[in-house]
Amino acid sequence: MTTQSPILKADDLSKRYEDGVLALDHLNLDVHGGEVYCLLGANGAGKTTTINLFLNFIPPTTGACYISGIDVNKDPLEAKKHVAFVSENVMLYGNFTARQNLDFFAKLGGKPNLTKEQYYQVMRRVSLQEKAFEQRVKNFSKGMRQKLGISIAIIKDAAAILLDEPTSGLDPKAAEEFQEILSELRKEGKAILMSTHDIFRAKDIGDRVGIMKEGRLVMERTREQLQYEDLVKIYIDYMKSEPLTA
């Protein structure tokens, strides 16, 4: 069950960098609550730029993006209250334990008074091993870091979650576990925008899948449409097609 108005919305969003490269070209996109939107595309297609624009790490050249109806560029701090972010290589403070990392980011996310048990519950929910809760993160595997990263997103309890290639480099079991967590978050009504190279994962988890090429959203399919189409073939065809700017 998705929300009527989108939680994440890109409105004619473009980004041209100082060196002249057009990284994003008039992107229009929306993600509703209870929906997972997967962005597919080659390196440099504009997936990460889209996420960076939603996080106000860079300003748009034209257009606007909104989180829960708030213009990110006009009121970035207010907009960031409603979004959580998980990057490809979840970066955490290596000398802190899992709980200390969680505590720090929970406080930044506006949850200053959580108990140790509440942190433990979230970490149990993402299937992080109990013995790792009070271990320093610097010795964690990528899968464990990813689980902790999603714990941080869960504990913030934001309406939208941005995931930048979160399953990249994960082993199949860890990726499967990750997918299960995303399904739960979708059920809770979160709007999830995930950039990925993993076509199979996108097809499995995505309610909608978009393919980006050279900064443009060149194709969008719903889960229903993809039941009758071969996403891999579509993707490869787009990648092999002539450059858009040519």
Binding site: N52, L55, F57, I58, L77, E78, K80, K81, V83, A84, F85, S87, N89, V90, M91, L92, Y93, N95, F96, Q100, F104, F105, K107, L108, G109, G110, P112, I152, K156, L162
Partner: protein, 480 residues
Amino acid sequence: MINTIVKKELQENIFSYRFPLFALLCVVLIPLSMFVNNAQYAKHLRDYGEQVRLSEESSSGLKIQDVMAGRVAIKGFRRPALLSIFDQGFENALPRYYQFTQDGYTQGESASGDESLLSTQGKFDFVFLVQMVISLIGLLFASDVISGEKESGTLRAMLSNRLPRDAVLIGKIGGGFASLLAPFLAAFVLGLALLVPSAFPLFAGDTPARLAVLALASAVFILIYYVIGTMISASSAKARTSLVAILLIWSGFQLVIPKLSDMLAALISPVRTETQVSLEKSLVNNTIETETAKELGRQYDLIFGSAKPGAADDPKSPERQKWDPLRDDIQMRARENKAQQIAAIEETYAQQKRRQQNLAVDLSLISPSAAFGRFVADICETGDLARTQYLEAVRSHQKALDNALFGKVKRTLMMHSGGRMSMSFQAEPVDPKNLPKFTVTPASLADTFKENWRSLLALAFWLIAPFVVAYSRFRNYDVR
């Protein structure tokens, strides 16, 4: 939110390998420097006490005949500065004593003669540690405060939250600085505690206030370097670039600018050497004395040339009645003339020197290290101010001795026609027990602040300017 960042920075630093190393360095080196310099101070103080005692013994047996014979040389010793334990400054470079004679004062040897060549690279004291070691560590700690977090990706994670960048910057500076300050202050307090059993007068006079100012100034100095490091870190995309920039800036501020400023000031505003000035004064002295002796001889010959024998020795003879006031008048005019000319030479020299020193100070204030060094040396009574006070005390003591001792003997040197010389004396009794004692009054804390306004202004500038630059750089910092 700032508190959360401060706490995180503190924890992160404390858990890192750098913190225990830094804490160990502080806890070992700072108390050690105090302990070693306290032992040195105690030795100098004993020497001082002994020398003063011997000098007083020698003065108590003084006779007016010795003054008449020009054999009297009274020494005035400078008491070692208590806070030289923390900052040696000019302590060993200043003369241990000045010698006063009826012809003026001359400086005695300094304690620097006992030092090794390596001491020219900086003396191992608290201020040296703050200036050379802790400042560098502060910069290194700050080198990756922004660029390092960008490289590790945690900056993106942080800034994806509702977190203003100014809060991040202030929190990072606050937390990083607190993690430097805590072991530093602990080591300082430990060092003071170790001094107490050796009868260090910790609570005497204004010592507690001076120590508090010293600790505060050192803390501000460390903060300045931490903020400069943060500014560099916020201006670089990579921690390694920050590191190179930091080392260049540190060597410029610590090693190049302070030394270059003295050299540039000497080139721009040259001053004659003290030997040249001394020779000029001697020339004036000799010329006036010779002229006076000639004038006295001529007048004496005119008055007593045709007088009956014994008239010169009879105070009631008409010739003596005429001669005595005339002699006093010639001698007084000569004294005044000499004093005027010598004062003019000294004043010109002092003005030139002041101009050069002011220029050197102004140039050196480009470096926060020089500003800090000058200020804390004055706080510890081993800086420029102590040198000036010492010299003022010497001049004033010479005047006091001239009145109480040397002026009690009036010599009249005459050069008669034909080149014959004669000399006569008039002496008043002298009480050697009541001779003035040589003391140097140290500048008060208020005067020290007043005299150091430029250094304090420079420190304030170096605290605010890098923060403003760091803030503007970090506002537009590319966190991707």
